[in-house]
Symmetry: C2
């Protein structure tokens, strides 16, 4: 089995882009990525020393070393250095009483044409080293590999440009994916893997993507090789922070001693956070063969090995215990705990763009598996991996610049900027004021308070005596099946349902007149469709606004909504659009009012507004609504606020996300002329899906594609577990994280998700449905 | 006036720690801080070149250059370099037709004893340079200053240790404060200032505090001198991110060209974010006097000057326009907009620990002024400046690692860790489940739903038919004057008040039995007191839990609460503690149940839980409460959730803050044996305050000190503007940001705020009250 580690070398010119949600990270093979605080800090020395320390351990059978990007080749080859050095170290230092036969290999897969013929390295070479005591030989393996190599000793992005061998990120990642799953471990074997990055943490790869971003989808634990030179404290800490800003965990920091005690300072500064180790000074003399240095360093490499082993086992222990602990301590919303077996809990290690990395055990092997987040994490998920990194940086900045600051009578830049963007965007043409709160539900309660006041003023209801109008009963006019949030005030504005039952909320009375909108069954092929009726089964829907399109299914004519809005306006009944779900490109346009063709007096926004990373909501209103609260008394002001109203981080995230979505230079899905998203769901595939026997209808609009399965009788509805086997297959086999929604399966992406990714997910659903009974 | 820039040199051994909230940053004098991506990247060359470019501008009268920390002195003196170089550059390159007399000075204030006698530099030197055309001379000034200087060319923290001259952060900052306000600008003068930091962005200062943290209170816009060498892209970007993680704005990045096109990459990567400029390669030859290099570089320095000028004017323009814009676009909660004149809006530039930096115009001069956030930003503010930086890093990390991920049936590390900490801490001994939501109000609504279900189960209210129990009216038992949030469900649980009036919420009916707790008037000097009755005037109070202590004032006997709780428990009425305000050390203990001496069935937490930076709430419950929702049907599950339930950033912040507060190594206010905060408010000062004629009573407990003023008749109460002149004085003259609260003035700090800071604020209030009519 270990031989596979040695000999596997793809013969193709390049690794192909991942054909599926590849990128599984096996956890049975501890794998670390070596990052540098700078160039020239000795990453390769650390890789070699660590490899030798690992191989000298009686439990380790093999070490795989990968250098995905090598410049200065062949004069410089880090893989060759490890390949020649580690065996030498083992032979010279081994005190092993067991006889060991070490098979070491070194291969370079894709040298740039400028490198010239280097048959030995291109084809690879292998050596066998024997050391240790007598008796039966134990075999160990050291497999070193370079993937892409360029001749000039410059940054890969420059080398790639100058030597004409450019490599796409997908190709580099493909090679890492391949390497990660090679050499599957058998009982009793322990294989370690070390990936050495190029340059410093933020040095560009061949495409210009930074090292820390290039390998981020795997989120390998990092070994940070720090800098012992003058200024090295600064570069080590900055590099450490750059890794944190990409969501990496750092397993150890190791640096050379240069008589400046950088390690002592770092040890104290990083105390309780990460292990810091110091290596003896590396001889300056280039003719020194480093034998003495490695010999002096071997105890440090043993400590490094121990630190990484401890890091790895703690990580595994924690990941393995999380299902049980979460079942014991957490109380999930909307979840019947009795129906969630402990082994069905999804342990989420991290997110990269639209994908979760989930902890799974398959065939007794622990691994992290990327899963497409098809429920968009309760319909909030917006960022692709680029926007996620931008937002991470912005969140760090906003927390450092503001923390949270008091809002009433104050102003800070993120709150103002976000308000400007809202009023220039979704509020354009009607809104003039922004009222911040925490979530869709509070935004709705605030909207209702605004509407009540305006209505009272317009209809002469407000009088001097409080008692007389306690008899006035305010009701809302709303659509049946709509949903506006879980707090009592928002619930009162929705029709009776399982959520509003006495069992759930004894105080609910349903203070509305709930209309059943006329629905139309249209037979045509258009795929721009509305979702309110489909969506009502899950938690939130905000169904009062959208409505358009067709595709052999029910739809609500926007004309109905438009007429309703106009009739209300004629009667001076304030109109609220609940855009919590529909806002910010969810339906392909920034605001669903564009689909409806009319404007509200008040509208509520949340979810995608902050790019889907922190809670924040906004209620927008016209100046007339705002005016109805003005007087000379504080008592007529709108007395509703939450501690974190307009918190800087939320506003900062919203400002970034709103601009990112609507900028064609960052959102390639945007049809800038029409200011709507291009069609994300492949029309042919949607048509194929809808023609399947077991499919009742398919709706695709904006970032959303929903498939309603044919059901009979009690299979439909909220409590149904009808589609659960399909859902389980999609989750387990196809790595699509779908949430059960009665007999509806939906895929939801972000406004910037690539069309290719949408097609990939959709074809998986199609394939699965073809075989679904 | 400019002469003050030249000659001001304090004769004391060191700058003293700031005696008040010093740290004013004048904005009429554009001031930038030069940070390095690394050591040896040419910060001083940039400072010199920029100084010359600025002085060559017809509008600039003077440039002040400050090097707070210099090592390798006197051989190396960056101030001397600028002092000798900039005049030479001006003389050689000046094309000015006007005759100019440049007076340049160079001073070093505090060389370490190891430096030896260096009379010229210690005392300073001055030269006069004349250049330009004929005619009347115009005088310009270049004032260069070193503050602390050590002999060894190592990092300041090492030099300070080795040479025995340690300097505290307050002293370094004191010197910067002093320098910032020197040389006040007169009509027609334009003075620029440049502060050059030591080493890289994260190099330690003499105390070990990193450069980026040391100067953070001033938040000067940064010039980042990047690195043109191999690996320089990485170190430049990492340094840039370190600055962002401290909340700095970077005005420009400038770096040396080393034939690696680092600038091109950075230009593209930082596009739309920051201006990137490139300087010709610096000659390696140490004997080169750089005359040619500076001459080649002068156009780049002119561009740098232009970029900074543009950055500065945009900043000023934005800050000056924010009051007006906020009045036009924002809708503040709890605010009667008619009562907020545009010039009373506080423009908050940033926060550093407990202080805001607010934009003000005093005597026609624009400046940023630190203000102590005495209302703790709606009672949420927790972090000191150290925790704020920690949280910023954690927020960046959590956003990068997770963004937001779906919660139901899932688990991620921050949600689990936070739950563990809650159950080991505030929930210890009673709670076994954590239910996350967004804010105190939603936490209360969830708590009520939990209590209703448990009560229904225990009292056999749940039957098969929904209709029959629509007649059952659930009410809460609560205290008069308490406040639990602004959403309808939470409002229903509080007694009628201005917030619940028909004007505010027509749907409110007050579904409670509201008790007036017996209050006692105790005459003694103890200062541990409860606040619910005082606090009811402002927005949120969460007043049902605390209650203890005395000091010549009303108090609610904890015995009453305890008896009430026990009576409820005997009757199987679930007991909810609203700890939104009282939780997490607000009252000196982690949970107010320690003050009450009894435990709840359900408790709600928010505000300080996340360290006061992002919204997150938790409702804790006993296993019995949790069990009452279990069945085999999803319909009996608790169907309440928000999109961002258990969002990773909130949970991550909470986990950090909870641990930080209760760890004596990070919170020096903690009395670890008793697990409560030491007394933060000086007892003698509190007693002095309470004995003032115009003070009715003073209450200090935990992080809170409230002073109730004597009032007569209608002066008291919510709508009162009684104390407003006092509040205005405290805000404007004393730089304490207090919020009006009827006739109560309160100071609130964080759990880690130093006792010195509390005493400082309290003595200001005392001084002001002595003179208050």
């Amino acid at each position: 089995m270990l031989r596979r580690l040695l000999h596997h070398a793809r013969r193709r010119r390049h690794y192909s882009a991942a054909a599926s949600n590849a990128g599984v990270v096996p956890l049975s093979t501890p794998t670390f990525a070596v990052f540098g605080a700078n160039t020239g800090v000795g990453k390769t020395l650390v890789s070699a020393g660590l490899s030798a320390a690992l191989l000298s351990s009686p439990t380790t059978s093999a070490v795989g070393y990968l250098k995905p990007l090598q410049t200065g080749y062949p004069a410089d080859s880090d893989a060759r250095f490890v390949f020649t050095r580690a065996p030498a170290l083992l032979r010279s230092s081994s005190s092993s009483s067991r006889a060991t036969r070490l098979v070491a290999s070194c291969r370079t897969l894709f040298p740039s044409p400028a490198v010239g013929a280097e048959p030995v390295h291109r084809e690879g070479q292998e050596i066998v080293v024997r050391y240790g005591g007598d008796g039966p030989e134990e075999t160990k393996v050291l497999a070193c590999r370079t993937v892409y190599a360029w001749n000039e000793p410059v940054s890969p992005h420059l080398a790639a440009e100058r030597e004409g061998m450019t490599v796409r990120d997908e190709e580099v990642r493909g090679s890492v994916e391949q390497w990660l799953v090679e050499g599957v471990v058998e009982e009793g074997e322990e294989v370690w893997k070390v990936l050495e990055t190029a340059g410093g943490v933020a040095s560009p790869g061949p495409s210009g993507t930074l090292q820390c971003d290039l390998y981020r989808p795997f989120r390998l634990p990092a070994i940070l090789v720090g800098d012992g030179r003058l200024g090295g404290i600064s570069s080590t800490l900055s590099a450490f922070e750059t890794l944190l800003l990409r969501g990496y965990d750092v397993g150890a920091v190791i640096l050379e001693d240069r008589a400046l005690s950088n390690d002592k300072f770092l040890l104290s500064y990083l105390k309780n956070r990460v292990r810091v180790l110091v290596l003896p000074q590396i001889p300056d003399d280039p003719s020194d063969d480093l034998t003495d240095w490695f010999s002096e360093s071997s105890s440090v490499f043993d400590l490094l090995k121990d630190a990484l082993q401890s890091f790895h086992s703690k990580r595994i222990q924690r990941l393995s215990s999380m299902q049980r602990k979460s079942k014991d301590l957490l109380w999930w919303p909307f979840t019947q705990h009795n129906l969630v077996p402990v082994d069905s809990v999804t342990v989420i290690d991290s997110r990269c763009g639209e994908n979760f990395l989930s902890f799974k055990i398959k065939d007794n092997t622990m691994m992290l598996v990327p899963q497409f987040d098809a429920c968009a994490s309760w319909w909030t998920q917006g960022p692709d991996s680029n926007l996620q990194i931008e937002l991470a940086r912005d969140m760090g900045y906003a927390a450092a610049r503001y923390g949270h600051v008091m809002f009433p009578e104050n102003v800070h830049e993120p709150a103002l900027r976000c308000a400007e963007l809202l009023l220039e965007g979704v509020g354009k043409g009607w809104a003039s004021r922004v009222y911040y709160s925490d979530n869709g539900s509070t935004a709705i309660e605030i909207a209702l308070k605004m509407a009540f006041r305006k209505f009272s003023n317009d209809h002469g209801i407000l009088m001097d005596s409080e008692k007389s109008f306690r008899n006035t009963q305010f009701k809302v006019l709303a659509l049946n099946g709509s949903y506006h949030g879980d707090t009592l005030g928002a619930m009162e504005a929705q029709a009776p349902s399982a959520y509003t039952s006495f069992l759930q909320q004894p105080w609910y009375s349903g203070r509305g007149l709930f209309l059943d909108p006329p629905t139309v069954y249209v037979k045509n092929d258009t795929c721009n469709l509305s979702l309110p009726k489909l969506m009502k089964h899950d938690q939130q829907s905000s169904g009062d606004t959208l409505i358009q399109g067709a595709g052999g299914m029910h739809m609500i004519d926007p004309l109905f909504q438009r007429v309703l809005v106009n009739e209300c306006k004629n009667r001076k009944i304030p109109v609220i659009f609940d855009e919590v779900f529909t806002g910010f490109w969810r339906l392909g346009v920034e605001s669903a009012s564009e689909l409806l063709g009319c404007l509200p007096d008040i509208a509520c926004y949340a979810k995608l507004m902050t790019g889907g990373i922190v809670p924040l909501a906004a209620t927008l209103a016209t100046e007339e609504i705002f005016e109805s609260f003005k007087s000379d008394s504080k008592l007529t002001a709108l007395l509703h606020g939450h501690s974190y109203t307009a918190h800087a981080m939320g506003c900062c995230a919203a400002a970034k996300a709103i601009q990112w979505y609507r900028d064609p230079s960052t959102n390639s899905n945007l049809d800038f002329d029409r200011m709507r998203l291009k069609e994300l769901w492949d029309v042919a595939l949607v048509r194929q899906l809808s023609s399947l026997q077991n499919v009742k209808r398919v709706v695709s609009i904006g970032t959303l594609c929903a498939v309603e399965l044919e059901t009979h009788g009690s299979d439909a509805g909220y409590a149904s577990l009808y589609a659960s086997s399909l859902i389980q297959q999609l989750r387990k086999e196809d790595d699509i994280y779908v949430r059960p929604l009665g007999n509806v399966i939906y895929l939801m992406c972000g406004p910037c998700t690539s069309r290719d990714s949408c097609t990939l997910q959709l074809s998986k659903v199609h394939r699965r449905l073809c075989g679904f009974n």
